[in-house]
Symmetry: C2
DNA sequence: GCGCACATGTAATTCGTTACATGATTAC
DNA sequence: GTAATCATGTAACGAATTACATGTGCGC
């Protein structure tokens, strides 16, 4: 009925009305943890959702030359989003630049690869830290347990993020330490 | 110097010469585990790699109306690929349809979500099984330990796959069991 | 005879990013 | 005054998929 981005946008509208600008902000955070889009793409997607009857808007005067539009979910949009949420996802098309680099790492200087991995480890540690703070905030207000609540849905995606960041870190550290040990004994031998 | 797909293709040529058709086959397996492309995209990319001096080809008569082309890596291609492999990857643009569904799962019937998760669990179990067979084959011939070897690079990407599939399964099962418990007590209450 | 593997190419379309364009209000 | 936030829109380009197009050789 719409594109995947369309469903991402509907998911925000299901929580509360948003302007296009607000949708773009949420596509950086928190949706940005699992879906991203530029504002140019979002405005076009919102128009198409309205055309398809899944969203509607009211206008208010905006600060610039265009009117501000507040978008809401229509009943048809809600039905369609609920249907989509429980439908089987297509097999993802993997695109992992990190693994592609490691696949070709045998051609490069191990010390250079170790430096690159150190950078990645730092980046993932940051991300994991952010997620853990968010989790602490959840837990402080009582761990969500009703699977029909918005809070539970948010919490479940957060736990996925924490798990995958931890696993990614574990693997990155194993690889870095293995490469470092091998290049050290190389230098010593 | 080229696109990410270009580096994926160069990575194959660094191992041995390939025809465009063979590159397409390897983009399904094993590169397909972390990068994918259709044959239409591959033929275009190969042309551009040749134009950029990173790959070269020799022609042989093909079975159909076009000549078969065997592509090899040039010295410039090898240098560029080694440089790229140790360069810091850009922050990935996350696109996870599964998480987007869970984010909206509070709108849907929990039993329908559980059924969808069961399907996903089966899919990941299959993938993990495949990876573990590949790993057993590696270990049977001695675990790779030289980080400058092609074998080690292949092995490292495989371990990443095993780790992430395991983690994904762990999370999927937690979510399914939690949803099932909640909808069971719902039906009983 | 039919389908599959081999082998390469083009065209149409969609998805997604980056850059360009306009302009008010608020904080430093 | 200058930058950031709010607010929406178009144009140009590149990345990626799907469909169309051609044709041999082999196994069933």
């Amino acid at each position: 009925m719409t594109t995947t981005l369309g469903y991402a946008v509907l998911g925000l509208l299901a929580r509360r009305p948003h302007s296009g600008y607000e949708v773009a902000a949420r596509m950086r955070t928190p949706i940005g943890y699992f879906w991203t889009a530029s504002h140019a793409q979002i405005h076009g997607t919102l128009s198409k959702l309205v055309e398809a009857g899944l969203a509607a808007y009211t206008t208010e005067p905006g600060p610039g030359p265009y009117d501000k539009k507040m978008y809401t979910l229509t009943p048809a949009g809600r039905t369609e989003l609920a249907r989509w949420a429980a439908s089987p996802p297509p097999a993802p098309q993997p695109r992992n630049e990190m693994l592609l680099r490691v696949y070709n790492g045998w051609l490069a200087d191990p010390a250079a690869v170790v430096a690159m991995l150190d950078g990645e480890i730092a980046r993932h540690r940051d991300t994991l830290g952010t997620y853990q703070e968010l989790r602490a905030a959840f837990d402080a207000n009582g761990t969500p347990d009703d699977p029909r609540s918005v809070r539970f849905a948010d919490y479940a995606t957060l736990l996925a993020g924490i798990g995958s960041e931890r696993e990614e870190l574990r693997w990155l550290k194993w690889l870095r330490d293995t490469l470092r040990a091998a290049s050290d004994s190389d230098g010593a031998g």
